[in-house]
Amino acid sequence: MSLAPALQSRPAVTPLAPWRFPVPRHDRLGNGVTLLTHHMPGQHVATVTCHLGIPASAEPDGCDGIAAVMAACLGAGAHGITAREFEQRAAAAGITWTAGPGWTGPSITLELPARQFPAALDLLYWAVAEPAFDPAEVAGRVQLAAAGIAGAAAVPATRVLQELPAAVYGGESRAGRPAEGTLAAVAQLTPDMIARFYDEQVRPAATTIVIAGDLTGQDATRLAEEALAVWRDNRPAGGGVPQPEPALRRQPAAVLVNQPGAVQTQLLLAAPVPGRGHPGWNALQVAARILGAPLTGRLDAQVRERSGDSYTVQAGLTELVPGNGLMLVTGAVDGPATPGTLADIKDILAAPLRDGFTPAEHTAAAEALAGMLPLAYETPAALAAITADLAACGLPPDYLDVLLDDIAGLTAEAVNGAYQSHLGPDQLTLIAVGDAAVLAGPLRELAAPASLQVISA
């Protein structure tokens, strides 16, 4: 054996096989429920997601988060079934049950052995059609939701996200408050309020159920029809409060949440961009990738690979409110080095406004996105999540195909143009969680012209 191995030369990558998003089978059940089904042979663990289609704008004034708490209560027993019995049935079948908040409405997600579809759909029927809203159980869920919000406020990585809506949209509009609600709003919810909200809002016609997993030998449509047929409710849903389109604050906010003694600073920068489906969003996907890919992005190249002042700072696009995009830059950075790191980040975000991105950067980012998207939806959990999200946001099932085709056709000039027209230098919202005794002065200067608001943890 030679000590200096004669390694082969670097192999080429063979071209990607053409990929199209696996469009789900679409059914409308007799009672109006929308059913979207992905048959995934070989996937023994399936996902069922039930999206209730109740937007945050339907929540009564002062009751932010009631939709999510109401959804959490749907697993807490049904008529003739105690909460404990309900949980026991789910557990005996190996079914997990999780309710979560969302701007377009709360959802319930079940993970289950694929052979347990009938049991899962039966439980779902009892939960959405015949919930008990036992006062003691509901009070317990309210307390749990409040404790969850308090816990997230104590942890920097989640605290910055809690501060984000108000910092971007201002706390007066619903868009400016978290989908899961605030501690104050959630803590005062009563069992009566929650039961009434259910009665006014939960309807078959607004509900979408997504099923993903190995359905060999099972007819999902027939199973869903049988399980849910009895649930009939054609009453119009309550109107809620008409909401204007989310409006940005006139001046971007700068917020420092004081965490005395913190050794790191959690940073979150946000810039408003067009929403999904807009050509600008597609072009900015490429830009965000160039700036914020882990390890290879411009941000990590500086703050990780050169200065070593962060484990990672990444950038990406998201929507808090459908149709309204945000580019987010986020990471935890060394406490004392925060002012210098923040200045570096702002320089990195500003540089393409002058010089654009290089053609090589554009090509690499566009190819990365083309390769990555197909890999992201191989499991039932991932496929069910994106399918439910697209449906809830009113995006077409072939949305990702159009996105990929559009990105493939973009020129470097088009990406530069989109960045330069959508990301103004004075559009950055800044949220930081760190030690105000050290940071308040320097951040005040870096945040200008915005005035820094320091709040206690």
């Binding site: 557990a91 190996g94 816990g151 990555m372």
Partner: protein, 433 residues
Amino acid sequence: MTLSYPVAQHQLGNGLRVVVSEDPAAPSATVHLHYDVGSRHEAPGRTGLAHLFEHQMFEGSRNVAAGEHAALMHACGAVFNAATATDMTIYFQHVPAGAVELAMWLEADRMATLADGLTQERLDNQRAVIAQEKHQRYDVPFGSIEPRMLKLVYPSGHPYHHLVIGSVSDLNAAALDDVTGFFRTFYAPGNAVLAVTGDVTAEQVFDAAERYFGPVPAGPQPPHVPARVLEPASGQARDDVAEAVPFAVTALGWRLPPNSVTDPEIFACDMALRILAGGTPSRGHQVLVRELQAAQGLSTLTDPRTGGNSLGMITVPAMPGVPAGLIEKALGAELDALAADGPGEEELACARAAAERETLAHFSSSQGRAAALAQFATAFGDPGLINSLPDRITAITADQVRQAAATWLRPESAAVVTIRPAAPADSGLSPEE
């Protein structure tokens, strides 16, 4: 349920074992390289070296510039990463099928020639990055439970006493020679398993492995580090800390038996932990969440290890205002009851169903299957164990669970870590701003 993932194996002349599980329906593949080295192999005063070394693996080798591994993988859309644990270090690339050979070539180049790419400058940079990684994970509210627990569960000098990420002073003391020495000692083909899953054929992978990894010299046999298995602890070790948090979190930790393919005791311990604290049907949930409304929920951890005792934990965030002692007392009563009487059939069935679902969910991705195949090949010499794992878990009996609870999960052998609010507990729930 018995699984039927296809498993094909081949060993190269230099000792590298190659495992393939074909899945022609998948649009992608995973190339996963598992090295039989982790933080348990570190010498005293050099904690964190295995993980520091993992970072160096992205800093270039003879034919790959610093950062080029990441750039080449990103350019084809791959998702890649690496992880260091107590008993293993893994590197994986989830790639479009057309990039399998590129990923294998990249792994082979760094296995053969990593030492060529090491520089003091890159070492210093990654040391700084790791210090930030450590702050981000452990120096945040609720973040110190794991390091505190390890110190209590495993005695000083035990290979599992320290965090995988190591101490900052040890990392600062690590020299380039230490890193090179670690590479020459542990990163040999005979100390590794390559697992490839997804849209590939076994023949194609074996052929590519011969071409890319075949020329890598066999290297010396790594030193054998014997397993250090201890009895359950006696006398409760405690660590109690006050932080700016809105509620207390209590964690109980135990030494458990090592992972084994012949002795199901570790599975029985896992079942016992699930029955005590695994989700809504558990005894802990019924008492602490439903009846007393004292806790937000309970979670369990079973971390099976081969170089000594496995780790078992129950973690309970309390409701605001509830003292941690109440949680510990209630759990103690449940631990005693399970050890005395064992589980009922219904609760055992729930624990089995959850364990089976979690195992199958782990295998739902090509990465999960590749990781399991490589781990079984490394720890037990048989990647085919993947197919019988669900059956081996669900075969655990009520008596085995009772025995496991009575032997390993005694309240008096638990280490207890408490994070409690520095201010009065109810301050966390007063509306702010």
